[in-house]
């Protein structure tokens, strides 16, 4: 989205325009849902939390000063909501992870064996991500799945760049260990 379009949409959101809200949700629904699903690992929980993210956006839209990109602000809200839900769920019986790697959007140029291996590895990585601790998972999701820039990750997490980089490195090593344990 261009900066001008983002500013216009923001102005309309701050006027509590319902059409602008629908446009905003339509624009970001898949990004937010994907992010939340990767963090929580369960579709029903992810849908509930992702919808709550948009409700929070609307409740606090007046406080958004445009110092960061609207998507960065949205991701920050999403991550906070995920952390709250993870805490809440940790006090309840286990919620089953149901994120399946059904079909890959990866190029199909490789042979069938390589494709199968790629898909198996994707499955292993997804399962291993779910086993990481909350902070490691958050950094892997933001950097290695959503492919955000370090500066944006710093804005979302509130951590300095050096800390993000060193913790991400630890997170990647932990992920590799989990993948190895699962036979990858």
């Amino acid at each position: 989205m261009t900066a001008l379009r983002e500013r216009r949409l923001l102005r309309r959101l701050q006027r509590h325009d319902e059409n602008a809200f629908q446009e905003f949700v339509r624009l970001y629904q898949h990004q937010v849902f994907n992010l939340v699903l990767r963090m929580l690992g369960n579709r029903a929980e992810a849908e509930d939390v992702a919808q709550d993210v948009f409700v929070t956006v609307f409740k606090s839209i007046e406080s958004f000063r445009g110092e960061s990109k609207i998507s960065t602000w949205l991701y920050r809200i999403a991550m906070n909501q995920c952390q709250n839900r993870i805490k809440y769920l940790s006090r309840r019986p286990t919620v089953r992870s149901d994120v399946l790697v059904e079909s890959s959007t990866a190029p199909q140029a490789a042979g069938p064996e390589a494709q199968l291996r790629g898909r198996q590895l994707e499955g292993l990585v997804q399962e291993a991500i779910a086993e990481l601790d909350e902070e490691h998972r958050m950094l892997i999701v933001l950097r290695d799945i959503e492919e955000l820039a370090y500066q944006e990750i710093c804005s979302i997490t509130g951590l300095p760049e050096g800390t993000v980089k060193s913790r991400l490195h630890r997170a990647r090593l932990a992920l590799r260990e989990h993948v190895k344990k699962r036979g990858g």
Binding site: E18, F33, V55, K165, V179
Partner: protein, 122 residues
Amino acid sequence: MSTLDHTQASELFSAYWDEELSSEQTAVLEEHLGSCLSCRQEYQEFEQMLGAAATLPQELAPPNFVAGAVKRVHRRSRGRFFRVRRLGERIPYELFSLLMLGLILAVYLMLQLNQPGRLNLP
């Protein structure tokens, strides 16, 4: 940093993957990876794993997601959150109801006028 041991090499994997190493560090690590089979295998695994993470398919929100979010905002704010839309942006129900009331009144008066015995108008 002229030569590396296994631990030092593995500490550089993340920055190497992110292309954040200086050209000197890159050259030293690549030299080490070229001569150390175990580090090379480790880096290949690291690379494959992060490559797989980057190609995980994007999961799409369910089809009714937007409607659900709008409904949730209405419910949480008891309908007060969204501003009242001005005429022209919505169906003007209040105008319709006034017109309907006027129409009903007009029909009633016409019916009364057609029966002069029942209504004594000046």
